[in-house]
């Protein structure tokens, strides 16, 4: 039986969903789910796991609480094994707890798959529990809202088209105060790069749009932003388990690039959006990989530094450490590029331990931070191991090249009073790269 945690959090989305859930709907969805559990990959996983518990130490939740209910296999036990044992006949309390586990106690970071001797993909299994909750209509309020926004507006934050265009114009204006003739081209056909951002950038952090555009402008990249749907590359639908919406938004993203006939897409410093492109979204659409070249901002910065299109004129003096976001480092092996950048721009770069693909998750990713502020306390408590990791480095700056990591680590820094600053890579880069004289604004 599923155990309750010490956190007694009531999520209005989950509660309302449970209230509306009829007995017929529950039985229908669960009987289909049980049939899925009894064949293919699920059946192999369930019949292979030898219950050795070796995945436990891989999980930051378990490492932080040292309570077996938070171990990866413990979460599978409370959800999937229990559904199988009861042959799908579970009550609403069970579903409430299953939703809590799948949405708020697992970041789908897949570190456990790396530590399981059998390589059982527990992240995949937890995502399928989310899918079950989605089909039952029992989803935390905030993340469901982002998914609704995706379905209606094709972006995560209910940003209307005119608001998006206006925000980019505003950032162009701001940038012109620093860089001569600076402009952010919209809808430029045949550009080398279509830069796509996540919905929260225009909503909460518009300066990032200006910063990255400035960097590309200085480097002389032929880039463009789409003014229409598809500018947002984020994908909370995949984390809700709403794969139908996931398909629609990924298609819109790729189609924007096709429409603009760009050579490739460069994605902002975001992890989950990148995962959605190379891992989840493409498979939902039935594609083996993404249909046009897509790279992450880290790769772009690496290319620009390596080729000398961006020149580093000074280095960051303060000690800097790097948080490896799961979805770009464990997910796509970009650790080596990030390290090259760090070595180029920092005088004193300190590694976290463990690092690279073994790094601990920020506990915000996998849609957990998107479950809203009511879960914040639990999420931060569930990652004391990250706080220790940062503290041990003695660094004054943590680089977090991912939006969820950035916000999650900001919460950790604040709660554990680490006295560290956390920044995106682009923010550091702009401090150290050369701005050619002809681009400088004279006052």
């Amino acid at each position: 039986m599923a155990e309750a945690t010490q956190f007694n959090i009531v999520d209005p989305g989950i509660e309302e969903g449970l209230e509306k859930l009829t007995e017929e709907r529950k039985n229908e969805v669960l009987s289909k789910f049980v049939a899925t559990l009894k064949k293919g990959r699920f059946d192999v996983y369930v019949n292979t796991c030898i219950h050795c518990g070796l995945c436990s130490d891989a999980c930051h939740w378990y490492q932080s609480f040292k309570d077996p209910i938070y171990s990866p296999v413990g979460k599978v036990k409370q959800t999937i094994w229990e559904i199988l044992r009861r042959d799908g006949k579970v009550d609403k309390d069970f579903i409430r707890r299953a939703a809590e586990i799948a949405f708020t106690e697992c970041n789908l970071c897949k570190r456990c798959s790396m530590y399981c001797p059998f390589g059982i993909d527990i992240g995949y299994m937890m995502n399928m529990v989310r899918r079950l909750c989605h089909l039952l209509g029992v989803v935390p309020l905030y993340i469901q809202d982002t998914c609704n926004s995706h379905a209606v507006t094709m972006n995560q934050m209910w940003v209307k088209e005119d608001e998006w265009i206006d925000t980019v114009f505003w950032q162009e204006d701001e940038g012109q105060a620093e860089i001569k003739n600076f402009y952010i081209p919209f809808d430029k056909e045949g550009a080398d790069v279509m830069f796509s951002v996540i919905g929260p950038e225009p909503k909460f952090k518009p300066q990032l749009i200006q910063e990255v555009a400035t960097l590309m402008y200085i480097a002389g990249i032929d880039f463009t932003f789409p003014s229409f749907d598809g500018w947002d590359n984020s994908d909370m639908a995949m984390y809700v388990g709403d794969f139908e919406t996931c398909e629609r938004i990924k298609r819109a993203h790729f189609e924007a690039a096709m429409k603009l006939k760009v050579k490739r897409i460069v994605m902002c410093e975001c992890g989950h959006a990148f995962r959605s492109v190379y891992d989840v979204g493409n498979r939902c659409l039935g594609w083996k990989a993404h249909p046009i070249p897509v790279i992450h901002a880290i790769q772009l910065y690496y290319e620009l530094l390596k080729s000398g299109r961006l020149k580093v004129v000074k280095k960051i003096k303060e000690p800097v450490t790097l948080h490896d976001p799961c979805n770009v480092v464990r997910g796509r092996g970009l650790g080596k590029y990030a390290r090259y950048i760090m070595e180029q721009i920092c005088e004193n770069f300190i590694e976290m331990t463990p690092n690279n693909e073994h790094n601990f998750c920020c506990a915000a990713g996998g849609g957990v931070i998107n479950c809203g502020p009511i879960w914040r306390g639990k999420r931060v408590a569930g990652n004391s191991v990250k706080a220790d990791q940062i503290k041990r480095t003695g660094a004054k700056i943590v680089v977090t090249p991912c939006h969820n990591c950035h916000s999650g680590i900001a919460d950790i820094i604040e709660t554990y009073k680490l006295g560290v600053k956390n920044v995106f890579l682009v923010e550091l880069l702009l401090q150290v790269v050369e701005i050619p004289d002809e681009l400088k604004v004279e006052y």
């Binding site: 059946d43 292979t48 219950h51 390589g119 993909d121 190379y278």
Partner: protein
């Protein structure tokens, strides 16, 4: 009861028809399940397209190597016992001279054998490993939390097969009883492989190979 356990009749039954039943169930059951899973997995569309042998082989190598992965290094005792346990578990039954002799008597074929002394040591290793695994199941909280009755059952089959084999070889107490029990447990183990989580002896190669390909091919990082 003891008379029956030590009887020639039981011995003949276990060595004769029961032995055939066990081996047939083991082979047919395993092959059936492998075919069934292969079919179901190929229907999943997103599984086999990503499986690449080069990544799978690299991953097998690291996970089969003692201390070859970070998690093994984090759990040195578990790694050591797992490694010795599985090596012994596979090699002793196949290369034991007594088992070889039985096959030679029946079919006139035989293969290499390991010295009885070595087999003895390997058997003791299996028995100690079982006790170690049992200890983990009882005393380590993250393991005991996910331990079911079936886990003890699986462990008991292996433990008693090797314990009775050891006692029979050394002719402790009544040889015939332990011999019969040894054969019985061995046959239960064979039959259990396709129908319990002992199936991991086969499925390991799929699950490990798949995640290795997922990591190597899609995620471009190592998985050890």
């Amino acid at each position: 009861m003891f008379e029956l356990l030590g009887s020639d009749l039981l011995y003949k039954f276990l060595r004769g028809p029961m032995c055939w039943v066990a081996f047939i169930l083991f082979f047919v059951g395993s092959i059936y399940k492998i075919i069934r899973y292969t079919k179901e997995l190929s229907q999943e569309k997103v599984v086999f397209v990503y499986v690449k042998p080069q990544y799978a082989l690299k991953s097998y190598f690291h996970w089969f190597l003692p201390f070859g992965t970070r998690n093994w290094r984090l759990h040195p005792y578990m790694n050591l016992f797992t490694f010795l346990f599985h090596i012994s578990l596979i090699f002793v039954p196949i290369f034991l001279s007594a088992h070889n002799l039985l096959i030679y008597e029946s079919w006139g074929i035989s293969w290499w054998t390991i010295p009885d002394k070595l087999a003895d040591i390997a058997t003791i290793i299996v028995i100690i490993s079982c006790i170690f695994f049992l200890g983990r199941r009882i005393f380590i909280k993250e393991v005991s939390y996910v331990t079911y009755l079936s886990d003890y059952f699986i462990l008991a089959i292996v433990f008693f097969t090797f314990l009775t084999g050891f006692l029979a070889y050394h002719q402790v107490y009544t040889y015939k009883i332990f011999l019969n029990l040894h054969i019985l447990f061995g046959e239960i183990m064979l039959i259990s492989i396709p129908f319990t989580r002992l199936f991991h002896i086969w499925s390991f190669f799929f699950t490990r190979g798949y995640i290795a390909s997922e990591f190597g091919y899609v995620r471009k990082v190592k998985d050890w």
